[in-house]
């Protein structure tokens, strides 16, 4: 199949993903909504919500990750002090400017105090929209955190059933879990493909392809990913003499696309990252038999990503996910890129850096905002980092 693709296939696919990325009116989601009567759209913010429950209610889960660098924030800044990160203000801008006027519900996951408080702001500003702070356990025992989580999932399932006007059945949930399992498999495959041959799947392309999953129906996105993988495998691209890095800290406010491109242009192949974690938060397949909420809970408690928004009960495990990612992807270094004023990423960073130092893994760090415009300092920093790895890593070994 791959050989039948013409050389411009990748570019065409990426162009479509880019158009979805740039569309701040969410035209594709709007079209989905009006295609059939009574369809509903439920938005969610980073870092993780069980999209299976939204899907099971015949609704479109819509990922809202701020306004990026193309949105002019006029109203949103009036809601926040200068020392608060950018994502809530651009999200409010999306809301008050009417760009989210077709969204019937909004979920605000437990990630930090800013997103938490935004959940209350949304209730006040958009009282007609179903808004929920989606709490998750910080205790990972099945009989403690698991029970709490299943009850929270039950409440969400009930609320979305009420919004639809019909309860969500177990079969609907099991079907949605299977659909999302397939999507996650493809994303894992994409990440593996990039880690193996990063010149064939540039970081910006991978980002756009994954990002498309925030606005497309999951079935369509899965097919889209397949298409991209086939095209990317078929197209031979030149391998550069880049170093291989893991990118971390970008799990909430998104970097400008130019920033991701700049890293590769400056000599760093991104072989793993924590961008758009919702798409691969659950690290394996979720069980499709038995109680579906129990299966979602099992996956959350025992097979989910490590990130700053989670408590790590075991000191010995702290930061080891990053070391494992470096080993798994044969990376040569780590770039810490955190949004300015991001409590989770910035408070976590020194601990992760200590772990990397102990493991002898080089790293650099910088901050960004979703609307950062000046990439030259980042290019210089990343370029120097790449050079230092190329020049000195062998000597150190």
């Amino acid at each position: 199949m791959a050989t039948s693709l013409n050389p411009s296939a990748t570019a065409d696919i990426v162009a479509r993903a880019n158009a979805l990325f740039e569309d701040l009116s969410f035209t594709s989601a709007r079209k989905w909504k009006v295609a059939k009567p009574n369809r509903k759209v439920v938005g969610y913010m980073p870092i993780y919500v069980p999209r299976e429950i939204i899907h099971a209610a015949d609704m479109l889960p819509l990922g809202i990750v701020g306004g990026g660098d193309q949105l002019e924030v006029i109203h949103g800044d009036a809601y926040y002090q200068s020392y608060i990160c950018r994502i809530p203000r651009s999200t409010i801008e999306l809301g008050v400017s009417g760009r989210l006027d077709f969204v019937d519900g909004m979920l605000f996951p437990s990630i930090c105090d800013v997103i938490r408080n935004l959940s209350g702001m949304w209730k006040l500003m958009f009282p007609h929209v179903y808004s929920r702070y989606f709490d998750v356990p910080q205790n990972y025992r099945d009989d403690i955190g698991g029970n709490f989580y299943i009850n929270e999932l039950t409440e969400l399932r009930h609320d979305l059933g009420a919004l639809r006007g019909k309860p969500i059945t177990d079969d609907e949930l099991r079907n949605s879990i299977a659909v999302y399992n397939e999507n996650r498999q493809l994303i894992r495959e994409l990440y593996k493909f990039r880690a193996d041959r990063p010149w064939q799947a540039p970081a910006a392309e991978v980002y756009l392809m994954v990002r498309a999953g925030l606005v497309l129906p999951v079935e369509e996105h899965t097919a889209f990913l397949r298409e991209y993988l086939a095209a990317a495998r078929a197209e031979e691209r030149p391998m550069r003499d880049n170093c291989r890095i893991v990118l971390t800290g970008m799990f909430c406010e998104q970097p400008p696309l130019n920033l991701i491109k700049s890293l590769e242009l400056s000599g760093c192949y991104v072989v793993d990252d924590d961008l758009l974690l919702v798409t691969r938060w659950l690290t394996g397949d979720v069980g499709v038999k038995g109680d579906p909420l129990q299966s979602l809970s099992d996956a959350f408690l025992h097979h989910s990503e490590s990130t700053a928004a989670k408590y790590e009960p075991d000191q010995k495990e702290k930061g080891q996910h990053l070391v494992r990612a470096v080993k798994r992807t044969r990376a040569e270094g780590v770039i810490f890129a955190a949004p300015s004023f991001c409590d989770p990423a910035l408070l976590e960073r020194p601990m992760l850096q200590h772990v990397l130092k102990e493991a002898g893994i080089p790293y650099i760090a910088f901050k960004y905002a979703e609307n950062s415009g000046q990439m030259q300092p980042i290019r210089e920093q990343a370029g120097t980092f790449a050079d230092s790895i190329k020049l000195w890593s062998g000597a150190a070994a």
Binding site: A78, N151, Q315
Partner: protein
Amino acid sequence: MTTQTKIVTSRAPAKEAVKDASMMKQKEMMAAHYDRLTSAPETGAKVAATFVPGNLNELIMCFDLVNNLPEVNAIQNGLRRVSGSYVLEAEKIGHSEDVCTYVKSDIGMMAKGNVAPNGKKFPNPDVLLLSYTGCFTFMKWFELLREQYKCETIMLHTPYMGDGKITKNMIDYMVKQLKDEVIPTLERVSGVKFDIDRLREYLKKSTKAEDDLVRVLQSAKAKPSPIDAYFGGIYYIGPIFGAFRGTSDAIDYYRFLREEVEDRLAKGQGPVTPDGDMGKEKYRLVVEGPPNYTSFRQFWKMFYDEGAVVVASSYTKVGGVYDFGFRHDPNNPLETLAEYCLGVYTNRSLPMRIDMLVNYINEYEADGLLINSIKSCNSFSAGQLLMMREVEKRTGKPAAFVESDLVDPRYFSAANIKNRLESYFQMIDQKRAGATVAAA
């Protein structure tokens, strides 16, 4: 009862600060606690570090553990004006300039010898009781401390009241954590077996002190208010938010304080300020947000110089909200601890916080709302501009916004804050004049 004492503060402004008798008593209690804490290596007492919101002091005492609160240590360092150097030290070793200065003050203090306010070294904690209540930073703070101290850490997760209610699921989750994880670990660390009747006894004592605290805070409904419920209030909450809730000392202190305040009330006196009795009460304010501690007295002076008294504040509810009826219930000891944690101010949704502030403005007949927005504290600060608008809309009273930080002196701009306060007081005057004209 209204005895006032002049003491000399160690740093500028060097003028003698006047403190009333309850403030002196509180200061002695805090000093005694620090002595108890720093003498732990000699006495063999074991130490539990935990946080003010979600402070389970009664439970900690059941295991003969001494309570150490890093936020209170940061506050003490702010008041003594040493926090700035600690914050810089933490930034030097890799902590971001963007994050909480309580954390950086704590970490910088550790890096510089971990010296307590009494000049002696803090003991290393035997256990970190991570009561994760109302503040995301707490979780990372104790992960950072665990990395340093390498001691046992217990997570007690308090769900957030996003929908403005406490559910059975939340209580069950917390009680299960207490029963199956918190209590067994505290037993193991301390070597003391848990006795639920001992917990009940402490909770009974808590209730008595809570009753008196509420009467003190609600005395501010009188005109003139006999207390300042923000700057003065910070002294009042010290024992009950710290290591004394559940003790006989707390009962004695709050009875003493109540009697002192009732005496002032009977005499029609206003609050005691560092410069003595406040003059005529001209403005009654509700304040949202923590204060700045590095210029605490200077900040307070900007209020009392203008005849402004704070009649209610949200910050004095950060370690427990008692004025809407909650009391620790000895009959349901674990459930009541859960309910206490769930109800603290920063664990309440934004709409709940707005309701509280509106209620205070109406109940305490305040002239308006002042928000002191803290750079360090997203839990408090994110959303405050919307809160301000909502409170203005619902009460018709003017609101104002100033910005500073908890313990980082770099973010206290006295001239800016003073200008804004003066403009705000003028705004209140104009509003009153307008109302008078309209009434005529």
